[in-house]
Symmetry: C2
Subunit: 221 residues, 2 copies
DNA sequence: TAGGTCGTTACGGTTAGCCGTAAGAAAAAC
DNA sequence: GTTTTTCTTACGGCTAACCGTAACGACCTA
């Protein structure tokens, strides 16, 4: 079912472990690369040759080592790969823990499987592979719980803008002005105040410092 | 020189890669465990048998999977291992990027080598191993630069207490009271205000929100 | 068109935070 | 022991932030 795989992972040790796992799973053909650009090129070439990959296994975050890359990270890679070959299945293998991000990968990037780099990740890789072979998606064990735990409040783009500006040292008066200059719809000081008040209350916080920390921890910032 | 090694790493894929690397380096005897407690027990037992380990390779952060552990993370493990066997050499293998933390490992925990889980980590493991075999420490390539970049301000325990309380939603008046109740030496509102002012100025910040974010990013919080 | 709702804005009172100054206490120097 | 320095604290003016209220406008409905 799945017998041609490409692995994009910059971390040498992780890359080797995935390779080894593929061997153990007796995958006929697996390629491994350390840069997103290389991955995309191989996907492109394989498709043209009429021997496309069945599965892309990729990390999310790639380190910039100076060599210029058109595609910076896993997110872009998934998008670009699907543009070339819409049917390719995608397994994300990453240390990402934030439920919001993982959830987003399934919803917005329509990935087929997610395996976290954690205690039993090799076993999970195999389980995920089995599921994919049967045409099923593979969700991380604890995702359902995690989403419940965190997703207390849905941030809008507007909310995030305000919080980002605050975390950059803007005072609320300046934020209002900023919004006005960038012609973002509600832009009064009063609105900014109210919005922050509402968000804080929603999350049970009393100060903006808590809010900023929360946003950092959940990956919103 | 080094022919008995113990590896403590909870992430299965990373553990396997280190194992494989040890094989390639032709280490006579290497053990690998997934929990800190197991590592410490083995170190203890090996010492009693008169066949102590030469090197401990450990991660920093271990995931809590429910099974109760006396030793939670790599930091404690290093401390405890050195109590049992002061001469044991320590190589930390972790994804940690914050220079302050890495620096601290060498200074306060007196580790002998640090290898970051990153692009060429396997090659780096081998280099580190060579260095250790010759009795030399192994510093990550870019540490010197990184320390310069970040270490703009030295936080005291007192500073961190204040910032932590702020990030938990305390207001400055309440922080003064908290300090008084815990009989921490300077405890007036005025001192809290001044300290924060000083820290902000030192780092070029205008608001506490920036400060909280900065502390989170650099690992102080 | 009139009436209603909802979102946005303006204003004002209260509180918390910011910042300078000066008095007081503790530690260090002489 | 006294002086000097440093640290801590107290006070007050000022600004920003907080929060309630009410007015205004847009949009939908009847």
């Amino acid at each position: 079912m799945i017998d041609k795989v490409i692995i994009a992972e910059d971390q040498e040790s992780a890359n080797l472990s995935v390779q080894k796992t593929m061997e153990e799973l007796r995958i006929a053909h697996s390629d491994y690369v350390y840069y997103c650009d290389d991955a995309l090129n191989k996907i492109q070439a394989a498709k043209l040759k009429g021997q496309p990959y069945d599965l892309l296994i990729t990390d999310l975050y790639f380190e910039d080592d100076g060599t210029h890359q058109a595609i910076a990270g896993g997110f872009d890679l998934i998008r670009s790969a699907r543009e070339i070959q819409p049917g390719i299945r995608v397994l994300v293998f990453s240390g990402e823990t934030r439920p919001a991000t993982i959830d987003m990968l399934f919803k917005n990037y329509e990935i087929d499987a997610f395996v976290r780099k954690a205690r039993h990740d090799v076993k999970e890789l195999k389980s995920a592979f089995d599921a994919l072979s049967k045409g099923q998606p593979y969700y991380p064990r604890a995702l359902a719980q995690l989403v419940k735990q965190s997703n207390t409040y849905e941030f809008t783009e507007f909310d995030i803008s305000i919080i980002r500006l605050i975390s950059q040292g803007y005072q609320q008066k300046q934020i209002a002005e900023y919004l006005r200059q960038h012609s973002i719809k509600p832009s009064s000081l009063s609105t900014v105040e109210k919005r922050l008040n509402q968000i804080r209350e929603e999350l049970g916080f009393s100060k903006n410092e808590q809010l900023v920390l929360f946003c950092k921890e959940t990956g919103i910032l």
